[in-house]
């Protein structure tokens, strides 16, 4: 047992004082014992099996293959931006952060250039989807390595839609049809479930493509001129007000990304835009989730794309990408790790654990044999090809990321649904956009 002497304490104190002086001088926390450790911050996955795989298998393999200890931390996705901000400002924190949407664009100046890894990945795996490129490339360099895209489709109850005439896997093709279907279903106590709350995934993934499908857009192609206040946008908002009242669970204004899962799984809503997590959960627990007739709920779920509007049919799938933080003292190890984790053999294990909830960032993953396993998941296979990204018709820049983070487009609909005249809601959102795109 070590004896603590006065001399030892004094020595420690001197070292601490010296250390503090060093920290203050460089404005950065020390990297003790970080030489062979990579700290990877991620969201808590909606597919728990994937988190288990990363912790239990991939981390061990990483240490074996690269000699790098992988420290995986998972937090609520809504808290990632706060963690990144505090990490950048304090100059210490995770070495690699997996961010959603185009959030990476907010931190372009504080991350390492990962062009070499991203370019190699794109070349070797069939090329990136445009969504992946738009959020991880600032036009000059790659500020992140695209990790995956979570496809968003409408999960719906096959039998309930059959009851109102949509048999043989048919689904409403236009917003008008969807509204009519929702109206009938709501009358039976089975409304459509959709969030218009301040939440990272389902709300923007619904609000943006809905706007595009009516012909509305945030800015012009120059990425500067705000173009939101148009007759198309006003029509979209007007329709939404009636659509919401007629067909939706009105509590959706306060839903987060998990409310619709709970509502669908408990038989409270008939359809909801979602990643495939609802279906995957029913596969995981077939005895828990049942239909009213007592059959497994998994057999009563189908997936469909968002309906068409006057401006076309669009989607927004949530891209994820890995930032290598500029302050990290483990740049080499982190780069080695990123190259390794994205390599086909390693990524394959994680991809399979997702069961189709995520598609790869590159087109090669569409060819994976996983897609032959379950026809219910097929609508997700090529979903990433059709996705636009936040900021359309301009690029998905920092300003577009700010608009997503401030929930301007989502709130435009929410305000109208709450009673603000649609024209005023659009004007409010336009003014907010102009503050961002100054």
């Amino acid at each position: 047992m070590t004896t603590v002497t006065r001399r030892n304490v004094l020595k420690g104190g001197t070292a601490l004082a010296g250390g503090m002086a060093g920290i203050l001088a460089v404005g950065r926390a020390p990297a003790y014992a970080q030489a062979a450790t990579v700290h990877w911050l991620r969201w808590t996955d909606f597919v728990p099996a994937s988190d288990q795989l990363l912790r239990n298998e991939i981390a061990k393999e990483c240490e074996k293959a690269l000699g790098i200890k992988l420290n995986i931390e998972t937090i609520n996705a809504n808290d990632i931006q706060a963690r990144v901000t505090s990490a950048i400002q304090s100059g210490s924190g995770p070495d690699v952060v997996c961010v959603l949407n185009n959030w990476g664009q907010l931190y372009g100046e504080s991350v390492a250039d990962v062009s070499d890894i991203a370019e190699a990945l794109g070349k070797s795996q069939g090329g990136f989807y445009e969504t992946s490129r738009a959020v991880a490339n600032d036009g000059k360099k790659w500020i992140a390595v695209p990790w995956c895209i979570v496809g968003l489709q409408i999960a719906y109850r096959k039998s309930w839609f059959a009851e109102i005439g949509y048999t043989d896997g048919k689904f409403p093709q236009t917003w008008e049809e969807y509204r009519e279907a929702g109206k009938k279903l709501k009358a039976k106590g089975r409304p459509i479930g959709q969030t218009l709350g301040h939440t990272f995934g389902d709300a923007p993934a619904f609000a943006y493509p809905y706007l595009w499908s009516w012909g509305g857009k945030e800015v012009e192609a120059d990425g500067k001129t705000v173009a939101l206040n148009s007759p198309a946008t006003v029509e979209a908002v007007k329709f939404m007000v009636a659509f919401w009242k007629d067909a939706h669970d009105e509590g959706g204004l306060a839903w987060d990304d998990s409310n619709n899962n709970r509502a669908f799984l408990s038989g409270t809503c008939s359809a909801t835009l979602n990643g495939a997590s609802i279906y995957i959960e029913t596969l995981r627990k077939p005895d828990t989730y049942k239909t009213e007739a007592g059959g497994p709920l998994k057999d009563d779920i189908l997936h469909a794309a968002l309906p068409k509007g006057p401006g076309g049919q669009f989607s927004y799938h949530v891209p994820f990408s890995n930032l290598l933080m500029g302050y990290s003292k483990n740049q080499d190890a982190a780069k080695k790790f990123l190259g390794w984790i994205h390599s086909k053999d390693v990524y394959d294990k994680w991809f399979v654990s997702q069961k189709g909830f995520s598609v790869g960032p590159t087109t090669d993953w569409e060819k994976h044999k996983l897609w032959g396993d379950d026809p219910i998941m097929l609508p997700y296979k090529q979903a990433a090809r059709t996705g636009r990204f936040a900021g359309y018709e301009g690029p998905s820049t920092r300003r577009a990321a700010e608009v997503v983070t401030k929930y301007v487009i989502v709130d435009m609909y929410a305000k109208a649904v709450q009673g603000m005249p649609p024209e005023d809601a659009v004007k409010w959102a336009e003014a907010e956009l102009k503050k961002v795109y100054v």
Binding site: Q81, L253, R262
Partner: protein, 311 residues
């Protein structure tokens, strides 16, 4: 002469070392004893405060120091509709909750000041909302107000008090009422226990004498209890107003400032803009906008307490 001078010098005690002399000086000793506190206050209060002021007059974003922009951020936030909503909400939230917390806390304190069986247990039980970590208890409330699976709605429905669902957190007004209810629930024990401590310092003889003189309970409260309780009440209110004005956890967990920014307070909006979106200077400006109000509240209340004490 020479001999006596030598003996005088040798007999006189040698002067203490300079360091010892300094410590014997009360002013110096007081300063030395205050140094740790000054250092702590400087590090954890003055430095962040000054840093906040410096940030608020720059165009800093996360990872980018930015340039000096004067009061541009303040001009921007005062022209921001969401900020104005946050200001209104903060005053409403603080005002309504403080009134209810004081009224309910005082009522509880008066009840707990009586003798009854199980008094100690009841007092401990009353403290529960204050003891449980705010985030945890607020999550429980969030489930109770859940838009789809609200236990509260279920209860009201089965009691026959409602026929349809109440959209607690989806309606802007109801969402505000919900967070106010949670704040009151959490804050009442603090008022009750603090006021109870104040009540116990009031001599029962005063009330007994007044009762003998024919004073009714209400008169006894108004002319004896209330004036003597006032200094404690003011201190409790001071703490409560400051805490409530800068509240973050309840709103962040319950509504995240939604629906559509309807329940943002200063702190939650500053967090969303400064930390979430990375617009540090704007976030700092929003936070600092709280300062003059809080400063004024503190000054007025401290002056009042001083006056009451002098009297």
């Amino acid at each position: 002469m020479a001999i006596s001078a030598v003996s005088d010098t040798t007999l006189r005690e040698a002067p203490p070392p300079r360091r010892q002399r300094l410590l014997e000086d009360e002013r110096w000793l007081a300063f030395v004893l205050l140094v740790p506190t000054i250092v702590l206050l400087g590090l954890f209060i003055a430095y962040p405060f000054m840093r906040g002021i410096l940030l608020s007059v720059t165009s800093s974003r996360v990872g980018i120091p930015g340039d000096f922009v004067g009061l541009a951020n303040f001009y921007k936030i005062f022209n921001d509709g969401i900020f104005r909503t946050a200001v209104y909400n903060t005053f409403l939230y603080t005002g309504v909750t403080t009134v209810f917390k004081l009224a309910l806390g005082l009522w509880l304190a008066m009840l707990l000041n009586r003798n009854f069986r199980g008094k100690a247990f009841t007092r401990a039980f009353i403290l529960l909302p204050f003891i449980i970590p705010t985030v945890l208890s607020t999550f429980a409330w969030k489930w109770m107000f859940d838009p789809t699976f609200s236990v509260l709605n279920w209860l009201l429905y089965h009691l026959g008090l409602i026929t349809g669902r109440i959209n607690w957190l989806g309606d802007p007004d109801l969402a505000m009422i919900s967070i106010i209810i949670v704040n009151i629930w959490r804050g009442v024990p603090f008022f009750a226990i603090s006021l109870l401590a104040g009540l116990q310092t009031i001599s029962p003889e005063l009330n007994e004498a007044a009762a003998i003189d024919g004073a009714k309970p209400w008169q006894r409260f108004w002319h004896i209890t209330w004036p003597l309780l006032l200094p404690v009440t003011m201190v409790v209110m001071l703490f409560s107003v400051i805490q409530t004005f800068a509240d973050f956890q309840i709103v962040y967990v319950m509504t995240g400032g939604g629906p559509a920014n309807a329940t943002h307070l200063f702190a939650t909006y500053a967090y969303q803009i400064g930390v979430g979106t990375g617009l540090l200077s704007e976030g700092a400006a929003i936070s600092l906008a709280m300062f003059p109000v809080l400063f004024l509240v503190v000054v007025i209340q401290l002056l009042y307490i001083r006056r009451v004490e002098v009297r």
